[in-house]
């Protein structure tokens, strides 16, 4: 029985960064193949347990959310980040620093909507899906949905409500992975106690 505690995996990032770019903190390393195989067997087990692919997608999103709400503190601490001044900067930080730090992927931020509230993270390398082939009967499975949950959870902890979905998936024949992030609300800090307390 899969417990709801998400597996915590970290990949090492030891790639030299280009001069002038923000330095990427280095975490402990682990073998990316173990990561890929563990994720693959997690998906396999979820499918066996739930059988309905929609349920599996939802579970992946929830697990990603649980990871994200904790991961954000680790990222903020390691990257010594201050507050991002805008959603644009936040998206850049996610694509260039966070993805690099945790899964060794350089994602580019593109396709900004006209009001600056929506953008796409595009990448071609994905350690989650190495060696993976998706059979026809699992076409509705969002294999990388855990990433969407992680982004949603992490941004919620910095008071940004976002919606994240997979637009393009290389496992389904597209030529890259594209995650579309939409900012629904950037919340203010409210004083939590009422006058009566």
């Amino acid at each position: 029985m899969i417990s709801n505690e998400p597996p915590r995996q970290r990949l090492i990032i030891n790639m030299p960064t280009a001069p002038g770019k923000a330095p990427v903190p280095v975490l402990e390393q682990m073998n990316s193949e173990i990561f890929t195989l563990t994720y693959g067997s997690l998906i396999r087990q979820l499918i066996t347990d739930f059988e309905d692919l929609d349920e599996v997608n939802k579970q992946l999103d929830t697990m990603g959310y649980n990871i994200g709400i904790r991961l954000v503190d680790e990222f903020l601490a390691k990257a010594r980040m201050g507050k991002c001044s805008s959603f644009r900067e936040t998206a850049e930080v996610i694509g260039k620093q966070a993805f690099q730090m945790f899964i060794n992927v350089q994602a580019s931020v593109t396709n900004w909507s006209s009001d600056g509230q929506e953008c796409s993270l595009v990448f071609t390398d994905n350690p989650l899906t190495e060696f993976v082939e998706l059979p026809e009967e699992y076409r509705d499975l969002k294999y990388c949905n855990i990433l969407c949950g992680v982004i949603r959870g992490a941004l919620e902890m910095v008071s940004m409500d976002v919606e994240c979905r997979i637009i393009q998936d290389m496992l389904k024949g597209d030529d890259c992975y594209e995650l579309r992030i939409k900012l629904k609300e950037h919340k203010d800090e409210k004083f939590p106690y009422t006058e009566d307390d």
């Binding site: 954000v72 503190d73 680790e74 903020l76 980040m81 201050g82 910095v158 203010d188 939590p192």
Partner: protein, 160 residues
């Protein structure tokens, strides 16, 4: 006199004190506000108001938020510490809303880097990565207490 730490508070975004640790508090809480909970609420109110006040009084910022207007976390300038004739209070707020407050004796310098390192080395390591910790809720993790003690005494901040 060598530096001395008095007490340490950690707050979440909702203003709940999720951790309190003290080393030296000769004036007991009952003589002050009356209860631990009141003391923690007052502390929260203090730095909430101070942050708002600092942002409003900022002479460098062209667009100043009005006092009392809701802001985003970290918007406007932040206050780092204040010194009284008895103690010095240091404050650090992470972008995820976790706030650290450390009261020390007056003869310490700027402890902002120390608090950031505390967040990185001790808080993330012992609290966030603890599978029993539910983000945002009060926790009792002995490893965190001893981690903080070790961290501070390594930096000469605790009289043993």
């Amino acid at each position: 006199m060598s530096p001395q730490c008095f007490n340490f508070y950690v707050y979440n975004r909702q203003g709940v004190c999720i951790h309190y640790q003290e080393w030296y508090r000769p004036k007991s809480v009952t003589q002050g506000t009356g209860s631990q909970a009141d003391d923690q609420k007052q502390m929260f109110g203090l730095f909430w108001t101070l942050n708002n006040f600092c942002a409003t009084m900022n002479p460098k910022d062209a667009s100043k938020p009005a006092l009392g207007q809701p802001r985003k976390i970290g918007e406007g300038c932040r206050f780092n510490s204040f010194t009284t004739n008895c103690y010095k209070l240091h404050f650090y707020e992470t972008p995820s809303g976790i706030k650290f407050i450390l009261n020390t004796s007056r003869d310490v310098g700027d402890l902002r880097d120390l608090l950031i390192a505390l967040y990185d080395d001790v808080f993330v390591d012992k609290v966030i990565k603890n599978p029993l910790y539910i983000p945002g809720q009060a926790f009792k993790i002995p490893q965190f207490n001893s981690g903080v003690d070790r961290f501070l005494s390594l930096r000469g901040m605790l009289q043993q």
